[in-house]
Symmetry: C2
Subunit: 190 residues, 2 copies
């Protein structure tokens, strides 16, 4: 999505360690009017997929996921993140290693809110190594539901997440795909 | 707001320790269509207050805050929560004790995104002892900005938060105000 690419070039900063800082419009300060445009693109891509629920994981994907759920007129389900497994039998969970925080988290959703046969669209702000996405797909499948796709605002296409998810049979749709980045340059997938 | 009161009576569960579980529409599964109605009520209350920014703290207030920011056509700012103070000079921060998690957290926002003269509406899902709200008010004032109000979906009016915030001169607007609750009964402020 050209507008998002332009916004990343204008407002994004590449920090040491391969971190792309876009906290002036995406995940600290949130430009909600702009995110609505992203949400509309997500809708346009999956509008015929029979989506019955949007799934994200706390916290930074929630604004975009909320706006996507609004356009689809379906409920949003927010997976909770925990450091340890101290959980009732009443949840689906998956283990996810966070490279940003260098630790393993448990992500979980209540079995009450995810059912067999549902068609679930996963939405997040970033896709990099795909760990969070794979964990969410795992949870959706545990419930007997169908992961109809994963849509992210920004994909680091030079990391493995996109390909791993495609291998899992997932329709991955990222609004901006970064081919390479360094402190001096940032290039998108054509 | 009568519709919210009815929803709490129908779907809410009071757990041990004074916890009101409303995770089937507010903070785990999120009924976005219903939250839009709440957001509209918030807008109606503060529409003449000259709001320039919505502020919330991660994570469970984000869906409502996103929808409120959308109606006001202003940016949303999401305060980050940290367990320890390992922070640059470039942030405003405040210490907040969480009774739910029995620990002190630091909440913070980047100085880049909160400026003198801004008129900030704080939005969250719950108001109980008011610690998070007071911390956010503190941050807004550190920036030289004006906290025009605090709006929450559900207020536990039998706890001290509402009065503490009113004493700080804040316009508190809660959409449902719980006077008392136990496992067998739940009563709203008339």
């Amino acid at each position: 999505m050209r507008q998002l690419e332009e916004k990343i070039l204008k407002d994004g900063k590449v920090l040491e360690g391969g971190i792309l800082k876009v906290d002036n419009f995406l995940n600290h300060q949130v430009d909600v009017a702009f995110l609505k445009k992203l949400a509309q693109e997500v809708y346009d891509h999956y509008k015929d997929a029979g989506v019955t629920k949007i799934l994200t994981v706390e916290a930074s994907g929630i604004p975009l996921a909320t706006l996507v759920a609004d356009i689809f007129s379906v409920n949003l389900l927010i997976a909770k993140k925990h450091k340890s497994l101290n959980i009732s039998n009443n949840v689906y969970f998956s283990k996810v290693f966070s490279f940003t925080h260098k630790q393993e988290n448990i992500i979980m959703v209540s079995k009450e809110y995810l059912h067999s046969g549902e068609r679930v669209l996963i939405v997040d702000d970033f896709l990099a190594n795909g760990n969070a996405g794979l964990g969410l797909v795992d949870i959706v499948r545990q419930a007997g539901a169908v992961p109809v796709g994963i849509s992210c605002a920004i994909e680091k296409s030079f990391q493995s997440g996109h390909d791993l998810l495609v291998k899992e049979g997932i329709d991955v749709f990222s609004l901006a795909r970064i081919k390479s980045m360094s402190e001096n340059s940032l290039e998108f997938v054509k």
